[in-house]
């Protein structure tokens, strides 16, 4: 019975709004044009979205961003975790440094990286021009493709150390005597990695993958402050399109339909993940 207040609260403030958003998405509801009223139009908002190139663009941007950034974060996060795990001294300091990007507000991360990539005289371009790696560095935020570089870098900078912290906990729960035995059997470092570390780390890797993927699919803050979705709508993710339909154009019906689709995409992913990982974690604690 002690659980009731919080569960009730969760039910009302988290589940309620989602159902409400689904309901709202079936209406024509334009706050700029109140004379149109609040008319039930069935699935028309969804029909409109599916024939809207900006919607498909936003979906594409979101999926590509999530795939690229999560892949980078897992690969580098794993490398970082393994490196830190092998340290004998100074783990505490390194861990504090690793925690910092995770704790810094995403808005700040975006702004700082935007400052670094600001063209033509930002730090990145000064360094690139000075080292003559690239003859003429791009104007990052004016190029539909190049604009993704700072965005993905900023996201990777913020979350790779977080992934590494999750993986580090997984690494440190692996029984060291396994490596000892493998060494006696003559297994090299790579064999030990593929036959011991990777399989035993798989649960932690999957958890990190799911957390990051769900997070990346709803990306908003970092892109809002770095490019605002631009140039044009070239870097606009689906969450930002929904935001702009809702709060800039005040099209609540259509905006709700877009945000319901963000919900469905991430929720399906989370559901699959929780089913695959959750049973063990949920039923009894792993000790």
């Amino acid at each position: 019975m002690m659980a009731l207040p919080a569960l009730g609260l969760i039910g009302v403030i988290a589940l309620g709004p989602v159902l409400w958003a689904m309901w709202e998405s079936l209406y024509l509801h334009d706050l700029r044009m109140p004379w149109l009223g609040h008319r039930f139009i069935g699935l028309q908002n969804y029909v409109e979205a599916f024939s809207d190139p900006r919607f498909w663009g936003a979906i594409g941007h979101t999926v590509v961003f999530a795939t690229v950034s999560v892949t980078l974060e897992l690969v580098f996060g794993l490398a970082l975790a393994i490196a830190v795990d092998s340290m004998r001294r100074g783990q505490g300091i390194v861990r504090t440094a690793m925690l910092l990007p995770w704790a810094v507000p995403t808005v700040v991360v975006g702004l700082v990286w935007r400052f670094i990539f600001e063209s033509p005289a930002g730090l990145m371009n000064t360094v690139l021009a000075g080292s003559r790696v690239i003859a003429s560095p791009p104007i990052w935020f004016a190029d539909p493709l190049a604009a993704w570089t700072p965005i993905i870098l900023a996201d990777a900078w913020k979350t790779t150390p977080f992934v590494a912290i999750l993986l580090l906990a997984g690494l440190q729960s692996i029984d060291r005597s396994l490596y000892e035995a493998a060494r006696i059997d003559g297994a090299g470092a790579w064999r030990q990695f593929t036959d011991i570390t990777l399989p035993l780390l798989m649960p932690a890797l999957l958890v990190a993958l799911v957390f990051r993927a769900v997070d990346a699919l709803r990306v908003f803050d970092v892109i809002y402050v770095m490019t605002g979705g631009g140039p044009g709508t070239a870097t606009e993710p689906i969450a930002m399109y929904a935001f702009s339909a809702l709060l800039e154009n005040l099209r609540f019906g259509y905006g709700s339909a877009l945000s319901v689709m963000v919900f469905v995409i991430t929720f399906l992913l989370a559901l699959v993940a929780i089913r695959r990982l959750g049973r063990r974690a949920l039923v009894e604690p792993v000790s």
Binding site: M2, A3, P5, A6, L9, I10, I13, A14, P17, V18, W20, A21, E24, A83, M87, V94, R95, A97, M98, L99, L100, P101, A103, V104, P105, T106, V107, V108, V112, F115, A121, G122, T126, V127, W157, P161, L166, P203, V207, A208, V214, L217, R218, F220, D221, Y224, F243, L246, L247, G255, S256, S259, V262, F263, T266, L271, I274, A281, L282, P285
Partner: protein, 271 residues
């Protein structure tokens, strides 16, 4: 031997990669606006506090800091006690559907915020809570509450059951056991949860952007994201604001590094 040196270099360069952008922003925030671009001075010749003065006088960043403190503090104070009761029940009591409840708590904590912006906006507008503190705390509960419950369930499970059973044997009630045995033992967990909740609220951007209308109610992230200059981007002020927004979380990280790591991994891996 060479391996060890190589590994040290690798770690040192990764730590440098982590810290450098923040350092660079800090340096820039003390540099006059006219010298921000072009030359690369890794160590500033002298520190100029103009940008900090400007953000607190012209940009009302002080108000934003206060707003952030109020909203994040109120959300944390509301969530931790209520969440503790709920988490304790989920960690200890056996009832049907317990796993389902836990799974949905986890699922709700993964909800994309944008998916509930439209109903929350309509609701807050109806209640005339747009651009008020309550109008931010209420939406924040939607992600903070599942987070606290999820973290605290993990912490309560680490407390040995035997201690509570001993209290029962001595005739203590369930509520009394919670107050006299469990809470004193779980204050590290409660503190960690409070810190994490506060951090998430302090950093939250989308809800604060949607449900506030002006500088009187902006939180810090919204305020600095919306700094605009007349002709160009006021980078010095933006970076000074960014440093102000980062300072409290950096302090929390330095003080509570161990606890935060425990909380993150308990929530994510041990479940």
């Amino acid at each position: 031997m060479t391996w060890r040196v190589l590994r040290r270099c690798a770690i040192a360069s990764m730590v440098a990669a982590i810290l450098f952008p923040l350092y660079w922003a800090a340096v820039a925030s003390f540099t006059p606006e006219s010298q921000l671009f072009g030359q690369v001075d890794l160590v500033p010749a002298r520190l100029v506090f103009d940008h900090y003065r400007a953000v607190f006088t012209e940009r009302a960043l002080g108000t934003a800091v206060w707003n952030s403190l109020v909203v994040a503090g109120a959300t944390t104070l509301l969530c931790v006690p209520i969440g503790a009761m709920c988490a304790y029940a989920l960690a200890r009591l056996q009832f049907r559907g317990r796993t389902l409840v836990l799974a949905s708590v986890l699922a709700i904590s993964m909800f994309p915020q944008i998916s509930i912006v439209s109903p929350l906006y309509l609701l807050l507008r109806e209640l005339r809570l747009i651009d008020t503190y309550a109008g931010l705390v209420l939406p924040y509960l939607t992600f903070a509450m599942p987070l606290t419950i999820w973290l605290l369930v993990a912490f309560f499970r680490q407390i040995p059951r035997e201690l509570e059973e001993a209290a029962f044997m001595d005739g203590a009630s369930r509520v009394h056991t919670l107050a006299a045995v469990v809470l004193p033992l779980s204050w590290p967990g409660l503190a960690t949860t409070a810190i994490l909740t506060f951090l998430y609220c302090w950093n939250e951007f989308l809800f604060a952007l949607c449900f506030t209308l002006g500088p009187e109610r902006y939180t810090v992230p919204v305020a600095i994201a919306l700094f605009r200059g007349q002709y160009q981007v006021p980078w010095g002020q933006i970076l000074a604001g960014a440093l102000v927004a980062t300072l409290p979380v950096a302090v929390l990280v330095f003080i509570a590094q161990r606890r935060i790591v425990a909380g993150l991994t308990a929530g994510a891996i041990k479940g």
